[in-house]
Amino acid sequence: MYIGCKVPYVVLALPSWLQQLKDDFTLNFIDDKRYMYLVKGLGATLEITFFAVLLGIALGVVAAIIRSSHDKTINDMRPGFGKVLLKVLNAIVKVYLTIIRGTPVVVQLMITYYIIFASSTNQIMIAVLAFGFNSGAYVAEIIRSGIMSIDNGQFEAGRSLGFNYVQTMTYIIIPQAFKNVLPALANEFIVLIKETSISGYVGIQDLTRGGDVIRSRTYSAFMPLLAVAAIYLLIVVFFSKLVSILERRLRNSER
């Protein structure tokens, strides 16, 4: 009777540490479908990051163009409404950059949630706004450095063909600046993905909070936290790969 059971016996009798790991895994992810905390959390993290990146780029480009336009052209401008407007916009952008870069993002997130949008319940939207405005300040400085790095001759060549300021920026300066700052931009977005892990501070069930909830249910920290870390790592590695492909594409177009 026992002869026939030999093979199953080997399979079942895992080494004790492996058995422990298996039990841990089952407890943390399978029981009560706890893996859903991670899946849903990942969804929230990606959603917040995606829209915050879009908002950050939009704000950053606008802020960068205002700042660099001001620095480049204010001395040559004729007095008038345009000059006053540019000066006012530049001052607003400077205040924005100073405040955002001068305070911790977690404080900004809490201020947005508990003060500015105290009456709103759309937590994801609040997080998108907070992270988007935060990221926009850093993106602005990255893009501004890219714009300033383009030789002024490019600008003059564009203007001498008859392009106006905005057209010269759009067709000639920004495409070149973007290529130059792509690595720095990618870095900013990698930071942003990981920064969203503080969303739990305002009660958002993001990836980090999801792992933490599992830990609090199972009293076992090892599995859920390592899983959370591994998922962040995978996202970042995947994103970095995408960026390096894009970078190679852009570079190929020059050679």
Partner: protein, 248 residues
């Protein structure tokens, strides 16, 4: 249009810095007629480039007026972008757009500004490329070209807008000596085709051979102007004489 029609009229043009302490341009008055090749020479710092760059307002003069095709371009009401489409400019450092192929460098402005169809613009660009013997480089990028090739492209890029005048700002100064000739040849062909040109250069051979009028500038002023013969063979002014003695 008659050959004697004035294309650009410059009156008392001044560019002062630091409340007049530095006078880059100090009262320039001259007319540039249709079909003329005006060559501007002078020592460095004499204001040649500033003068040229004032003609399409890349430098904003502090006083005086410039009239181009009957329009005062220094007036705040003038749409300078419209006028710049008719004033091509070629730079010392080429300033091709490195992120665009040669053909895109040439068609960008005609397509976006003149609303030319992509096909028409490409055909025109290809014809011009053939003319400067670069017909097979349309799909190359600027970084793949030599300096002389880049400058020839810069010239035909300006020509794609069918300008009424071409401004050259030391077009051969950044070139290796063996490439100067190919660029000057293109410019000579243009002059022979009747293109109005204003050229700031150190190439005295070109000034003498191609120029219909030579302007000698020093310290922001026109010191002497005349036909190449008058300037090079019988210089009267002392400063011009000593300048020519150094460069010839």
């Amino acid at each position: 249009m008659s050959d004697n029609e004035v294309l650009i009229s410059v009156k008392d043009l001044c560019k002062h810095y630091n409340m007049g302490a530095i006078k880059a341009l100090d009262g320039i008055t001259t007319d540039i007629k249709k079909g003329e090749v005006v060559v501007i020479i002078g020592p460095s710092g004499s204001g040649k480039s500033t003068f040229l760059r004032s003609l399409n307002l890349l430098e904003r003069p502090t006083a005086g007026s410039i009239t181009f095709e009957g329009v005062d371009i220094t007036s705040p009401k003038t749409d300078i972008n419209k006028l710049r489409m008719k004033m091509g400019m070629v730079f010392q450092h080429f300033n091709l757009f490195p992120h665009l192929s040669i053909i895109d460098n040439m068609t960008l402005a005609p397509v976006k500004l003149l609303k030319m169809s992509k096909e028409d613009a490409r055909n025109k660009a290809q014809q011009l490329l053939d003319k400067v013997a670069l017909g097979d480089r349309g799909n190359a990028f600027p970084s793949q070209l030599s300096g002389g090739q880049k400058q020839r492209i810069a010239i035909v890029r300006a020509l794609c807008m069918s300008p009424d005048v071409l401004l050259f700002d030391e077009p051969t100064s950044a070139l290796d000596p063996e490439m100067v000739g190919e660029v000057l040849d293109v410019m000579k062909d243009l002059a022979n085709d009747g293109m109005t040109m204003v050229v700031v250069t150190h190439e005295m051979g070109f000034a003498r051979e191609v120029g219909s009028r030579v302007i000698f500038m020093d310290e922001g002023r026109i010191i002497e102007e005349g036909t190449p013969d008058e300037i090079f063979t019988n210089p009267t002014n002392g400063r011009l004489k000593s300048f020519l003695a150094k460069v010839l």
